[in-house]
Structure formats: structure tokens, C-alpha cells
């Protein structure tokens, strides 16, 4: 409906039976970021391969959220924010002319720290909200709702009250609803910024299970403050750090086991063993 002339084929409908789009590799190179004149990220480079869960760890204020928001063009929505460097999705520059920002965000979904279902919509409408909001038609709504809620591990809890308000769920349920909503537009990448930090342990476990199940169909990048969580769900890990009054950088990135068991940098070792941050 919206951008049929675009160089990138835009799905004009999503059919639940249709296999989801291939997960894609996201590559950030030389990314720097500013809020006004203040530089908060300095030449960050990271490859987030398809079918991999990448965890971003580091003390607060070191630019993890800024970095993850650059990956789906949310950073630019903050007044005065700017950036340098490039981010590619399967080789396509997401800051180039080829992909409009809305299409980028459609392909690279995001889950925020605070669950944010739309209060004026029902549970089912929340799941379908992404499609409605980007003007995509669906053939079988009910099947899509069931599929996405099942993937997010919420179907059994809400199948009898799909018409209730999204706000009537508990925090953990809301966060899973938000994940279902993000999955309904069939993103290639799913970014999660501390998705569990406002949740109870049970909900956290459910979401971790969901992440593991989704790994084959969508590339996942997750920011977490919980070291055990990073170790449990991710295969790759990047440690961010900002020295005082300096922008954040990646100190070390690599396979999760290496970061946790044999880090090359002493600061990484200190952080993952809870000695600071």
C-alpha cells in the first residue's frame, strides 16, 4: 500500500503460512553518536550475525541503549541527536536512500525496557498493531494472532480474553504481548533493550525461553544487565564501557564463552565477575 515503487520489495500482505523472512546479518561499523555536542559513543564496530543472539553488556550510561537505537533508526528521533558511521542489513545501508526509515524499522523490530502495549487496543489488536500501523494487509488475522502469541509464550494465558485491554495484563505478560506484536510484522532482526529488567523471575524465564526459540527465525540483539542472562541466551557478547567524561566504546566482543571465561581485557573480567558496574 505504501511504498510499492521502492527498490526493495515491500510485502503487501503477510500470510501466516508463509515462511518468515530470513534472519539477516546486521553490521555496524565505526558508529559514533552525539546528543547535542556531547559524544556518547566512539567508533563502535560490531557484527551481529544471522541466527545468533548477541548480548550487549556494560555498566549503565555507557551507550548500550544509544547503540541499539541507532540500529533501527530510533536514535534520530531524539531532538539534537546525531551520529556517524554506517549500519548495514544484509549489505544494505539502513541510513542510505535505499531503505526508508519506516521500512527499516519494519525489518528491525524493537522491544523496550518498559512494556508498552497500546492501552486503547485489545490484546488481539495489539498483536496486529504493527501491520495496521504500517498499512499491511493480513489474510488470516486470527491465525497470525495465535501464531505470534504462541511464539511469545503468551497464547495459553490470553486465548480466552483476546478482546480484553492490553493494559489489563501483568507486566511480564505485557512484555510478552509486546514481543508478539513485534513478531507479527515478521522482522529480520529483533532488538531488545533490557526487556526483563522490570519483570519477575518467572516472566524473565519465559522470555528467555522465547528468545532461544526465536533464534532460528530472527536475529536477536539484547541489552542486559544480568550476566547470567547474557550467558544463558547469547552466543556472542559485546562489552561496552565509558570512562569518566568519555564516550562509550566496545572494550571486547566475541563468543559469549570467551567473554565470560577467558576475557582478554582485565576490565571485562572485572565486570563479568561483578567487581564493578
Amino acid at each position: 500500500m505504501a511504498v510499492s515503487e521502492s527498490a526493495i520489495p515491500v510485502r503487501d500482505e503477510v500470510v501466516p503460512e508463509q515462511p518468515s523472512r530470513e534472519p539477516a546479518t546486521l553490521v555496524a561499523s565505526n558508529v559514533s553518536a552525539w546528543f547535542g555536542d556531547r559524544k556518547v559513543l566512539e567508533s563502535v564496530g560490531l557484527e551481529m550475525p544471522a541466527r545468533t543472539v548477541t548480548a550487549l553488556i556494560g555498566p549503565s550510561g555507557c551507550g548500550k541503549s544509544t547503540f541499539i537505537r541507532i540500529l533501527n533508526r530510533m536514535h534520530e528521533l531524539v531532538p539534537g541527536a546525531s551520529l556517524a558511521g554506517s549500519v548495514t542489513l544484509n549489505g544494505i545501508d539502513i541510513y542510505g536512500d535505499e531503505l526508508p526509515p519506516t521500512e527499516t524499522r519494519l525489518r528491525i523490530g524493537m522491544v523496550f525496557q518498559k512494556p508498552n502495549p497500546f492501552p486503547a487496543m485489545t490484546i488481539a489488536e495489539n498483536v496486529l498493531a504493527g501491520l495496521k500501523l504500517s498499512g499491511i494487509k493480513v489474510r488470516d488475522r486470527d491465525a497470525l494472532v495465535e501464531e505470534c502469541l504462541t511464539k511469545a509464550g503468551l497464547w495459553n494465558e490470553v486465548k480466552d480474553r483476546l478482546k480484553a485491554s492490553g493494559g489489563s495484563l501483568s507486566g511480564g505478560q505485557q512484555q510478552r504481548l509486546v514481543i508478539a506484536r513485534a513478531l507479527a510484522v515478521r522482522p529480520q532482526v529483533l532488538l531488545m533493550d533490557e526487556p526483563c529488567s522490570a519483570l519477575d523471575p518467572t516472566s524473565t524465564r519465559r522470555i528467555e525461553e522465547t528468545i532461544s526459540e526465536l533464534q532460528e527465525e530472527v536475529t536477536i540483539v539484547i541489552v542486559t544487565h544480568n550476566m547470567q542472562q547474557a550467558a544463558r541466551v547469547s552466543q556472542q557478547c559485546a562489552f561496552f564501557l565509558a570512562a569518566e567524561n568519555e564516550p562509550g566504546r566496545i572494550v571486547e566482543a566475541g563468543p559469549t564463552e570467551q567473554i565470560f571465561e577467558a576475557p582478554r581485557d582485565s576490565r571485562t573480567a572485572d565486570y563479568v565477575h561483578g567487581r564493578f558496574g
Binding site: 523490530g109 486503547a120 504493527g130 478482546k163 485491554s165
Partner: protein, 381 residues
Amino acid sequence: MTVVDVRDHDAPTVATGAPAVVERIRPRALRPLDVGLFAGSVVAGGALAWLVFFRLTPMGGGLGFVLGWWVASLFVYRTVVHRHLGRQAATDRVMAVVVGSAAVGLFVPLVLILFFVLQKGITALNWGFFTETLEFTGPLSPADEGGALHAIVGTLQQVGIAVVCSVPLGIMTAVYLNEVRGRLRRPLRAVVEAMSGVPSIVAGLFVYAMIVANSGSIPVIGTVVSWLPFSGRFSGVAAGLALSVLMLPTVTRTAEEMLRLVPGGLREASLALGAPEWRTALRVVLPTARIGLVTAVILGVARAIGETAPLLLTAFGSASLETNPLEEQSSLPLFVYQQIRSPEQAQIDRAWTGALVLILMVLILFSLARFFGARSKVARR
């Protein structure tokens, strides 16, 4: 149930088997002691005030006595609660009473107005008031003759026109101010603020000069306006436009405040799903603020519905039913204004009935707006 059965089997028939009647504790419930303390304080305060106002000093009754009673009661209440429950409880209770009396105090003038209008207006209120006009009613006709149908129709049409003009414009402006955040934001907000200070007679004069008295003499604008079917004469549409000038700033400002209450996280969530900004505003922000927007419309209507001055210059008034808003029309405020100026008691009675109907109409409109605004397909918690 099953639990009890199992227990009955195992346990001997002692107290444990029967479900015990537990006494529920409601720590916040009002106890007789609380009521007694309060009532006693009010009586004691009254006596004290009476002593001061009527015995010890020659101040006499009236408002001063009521105020004195209030202060004395508070004082007694504080002292007594302090004795029984301690300092913290005393402060707590006294604050509760102060805030509570403010709420009651707000209620008093409202109830008085309603009561007064009801009392005066009910005399000439009959079915004919809603079905007849003043077309065949002379100044000396009795109050139960004639009615305000023409005025009711006029008010509904004129306010309707004002709503149709100002609500979409006001909400769109609010979206511009709070969602689009364009360059013109500051000047626009200043204009809206200035507009809310426009006296209603000036709004009426403006429409009078631009439309009602338009002779095409103002270059360009005058010519363009003269093409309109309601140019160059008094009409209900002109009245609606004058009212919409008054409503617009109220609707815009309130709507903007309501949009500001929508959490930023919802906008981010929508944008992160790949929604364009206009769909985010239309499908996420506006529906979330829906009840607030209804309030904005209510406040706008409240601002406009009782206006009289601008209508004198635009609708002009009429004694007969005119359903075509392109013609001269009456309206309830005009009706009241024109009737109350008469020396005849019958007409004065009719004016009060007009005022009563106006109040009832506002009440009905507001209840309807609340009802439809609060209802939605999404079940509340």
C-alpha cells in the same frame, strides 16, 4: 467445598472442622467513635461560635458566624483527636476536613445556582415550552403560552456548527503543536493563547464586520466572503462561526494538554513498529487520549453555549422557528436576554425557564459526551 469434606472425614468433630467465622478487620472503616468525635466537635464549635458571635461580642450572625463555626469546630476537633489518637492523627484528620470542606464549599454555589434557576424556571415549564415558539405570543400573553422551540433549535444548530468548525481544527492544531512539533510551534501557541483572551463581543464584532456587514468593500477577502451564501446578513452560520472563534483556543489548549499526557513510550513503540508519524498520531496517540479529547470538546462547548453578546451581532434573534441556519435565528441565551428585559412577569418567567432549559441541555450534552467518550470496545480493567 471439597476441602471442607476432606477435613470432615479426617478431623474429629471439633472446632477445626467447621469453617470458622473470621472477624474481618477494616482498619480504615469509620467507627462510631470517629463519627462521635466529629459530630461532637461540630456541635461544640457551633456553641463556641454562638457564644462569641452573639453573646460576647455584638458581631451578629451571617457569613462571619458560619466561618467562625467552621474555625471553632476545626479547633475543637483537632484538640479532641489529639487527645485520643495523637498528634499525627490530629493533623491528618484536620487536613482531611479542610480539604473536604473545600470540596463541599465548591459544591454550594453550584447547588444554589441550580436550585435558584430550578425554582424560578419551573413555573413556566410545560410541554409547550419545547414545542411552541414566540411567533404568536405577545408581551401580555400568559407565561404558559408560547415556547422556546425556535431558541432550542437555534442553539443546537449554532453550537453544532461551532463544534464542526472548531473541533477538527483544534485537534489538528493540537497534533501539530504536540506531535509534529514543527517550526511554527511557538508562534502558533502564542496565537492560541492570545485568542483565548479575545472577549466574546470582539469575536462577534469580527464576524459581524467580516461576514454579516460585508459589502465587498474590503479588497479580496470581502469579495471572497461575498460569494458565501450567508454573506451580508444575520444568520445562524455567522453565529456558529463567532462561537467557533471562542471555542477554538479552549479546544486546542485542552487537547494539547491531553496529548501531552500520552506516554512517550507509546509513540516510540509505534514508530519502532515501522509506523509513519501520521499514523502514529492518528492510530495510537489520538485513541489513547480519547477521553481527554472528549473533555476538550466539552470544555469548548461549555465556553460557547452560554454566549449571548456575539449572537446579538450575528444571529440577531427571531421569534419564530427557523430551521435554516442561513437565516436569522434565535438561541436560548438570546431568548433569555430578550425576555428578561421585559417588565411583564410572564416574560420574566419564560426567561427563567429558558435558563433552566439551557442548563439542562448542557447537563444532557455533557452526560452524553462522557458516556460515549468513556465507552470503547476495549474492556476496562
